[in-house]
Subunit: 153 residues, 2 copies
DNA sequence: TGCTTTATAGAAAAATTTTCAGCAATGACT
DNA sequence: AGTCATTGCTGAAAATTTTTCTATAAAGCA
């Protein structure tokens, strides 16, 4: 499927606020309500729109501490990688985990309430996973930019 | 505001799918439709729910390349930091930018279509920002976990 | 040309959100 | 203890939105 200019605008709007009514969208896009409706349904069917989510303000629920953990495995066997990945997926503190190139194997984004909780996370959860070689953590000092909205090019 | 068990469940559901109807939510939570409605409105008023967004499948729109860039500034004056941050915010390829502790000053999550576009991003956009000391990039080999949903504890 | 598909519009139907009135429980204050 | 205000809930009604349906025009194609 190829996106035309209207689809791109529509996706941009929906990435900002997916609760806008089709009427609002229709006037922004100079289309009828039904046309907007059909376009959105198509984007959903094609899997271009993956899901609709509420974004929660993490600070407001006491999660003020963002940490990036870089992790090196002891060995790079398929078994070790798979095991590590399945364990990390289960950790609620880990919002993102990427297998990456470079000196370290994995980059994790971890969210906790404070340093104490982070220590607890490291000691009782992360480093109890087998075959971890070494870790290196960077603490977020400030969030400069953090968006879910992709610029459709 | 303190969240009770129902609020926490509600937030969990809404972070998975914010387009569920209040009727669906009311039956999952054993509440009336109006009670669900009022709770959601309160969470919005309090700013606990920040926004409602559509999540776009980046692969489907040709953005298959995720890169993490670590950046060191030449000097750490307030002026340099502020300038860098305001420039980086403007770059559409940058979805996340955190000022972090450790060897590097900033960690960026960059999304592009391919290596060529990444080279172009580095050469014509990122490294043209003044006062950058050095950069170090890690490419994503695979996405193990990547969620917007926070576990409400 | 004639046929099929695709995108659109407007109206009607179905479903959902939002408002409203009423009720019970809670806590503050006299 | 009694009164009052607040909070959260329910069910019904009103308002709005989504979804379906019918029809039409434009585009692609044999």
């Amino acid at each position: 499927m190829t996106l035309d200019a209207i689809d791109k605008k529509l996706l941009t709007f929906l990435q900002q606020d997916c609760k806008q009514t089709n009427k609002e969208l229709s006037s922004k896009l100079n289309l009828s309500v039904t046309a907007v409706y059909e376009r959105i349904k198509k984007l959903e069917r094609e899997g271009i729109i993956k899901q609709y989510v509420s974004v929660v303000n993490k600070e407001k629920i006491g999660l003020k501490f963002v940490v990036f953990c870089q992790i090196k495995l002891a060995q790079h066997t398929k078994e070790y990688l798979t095991k590590f990945e399945s364990e990390v997926k289960k950790l609620e503190e880990v919002l993102e985990c990427f297998h990456v190139s470079g000196e370290y194997d994995y980059l994790l984004k971890v969210i906790v309430g404070d340093m104490d909780q982070f220590r607890n996370f490291m000691v009782t959860k992360l480093t109890t996973i087998q075959h971890i070689g070494s870790t290196q953590s960077s603490f977020s000092i400030s969030e400069v930019k953090n968006t879910t909205a992709i610029n459709i090019r």
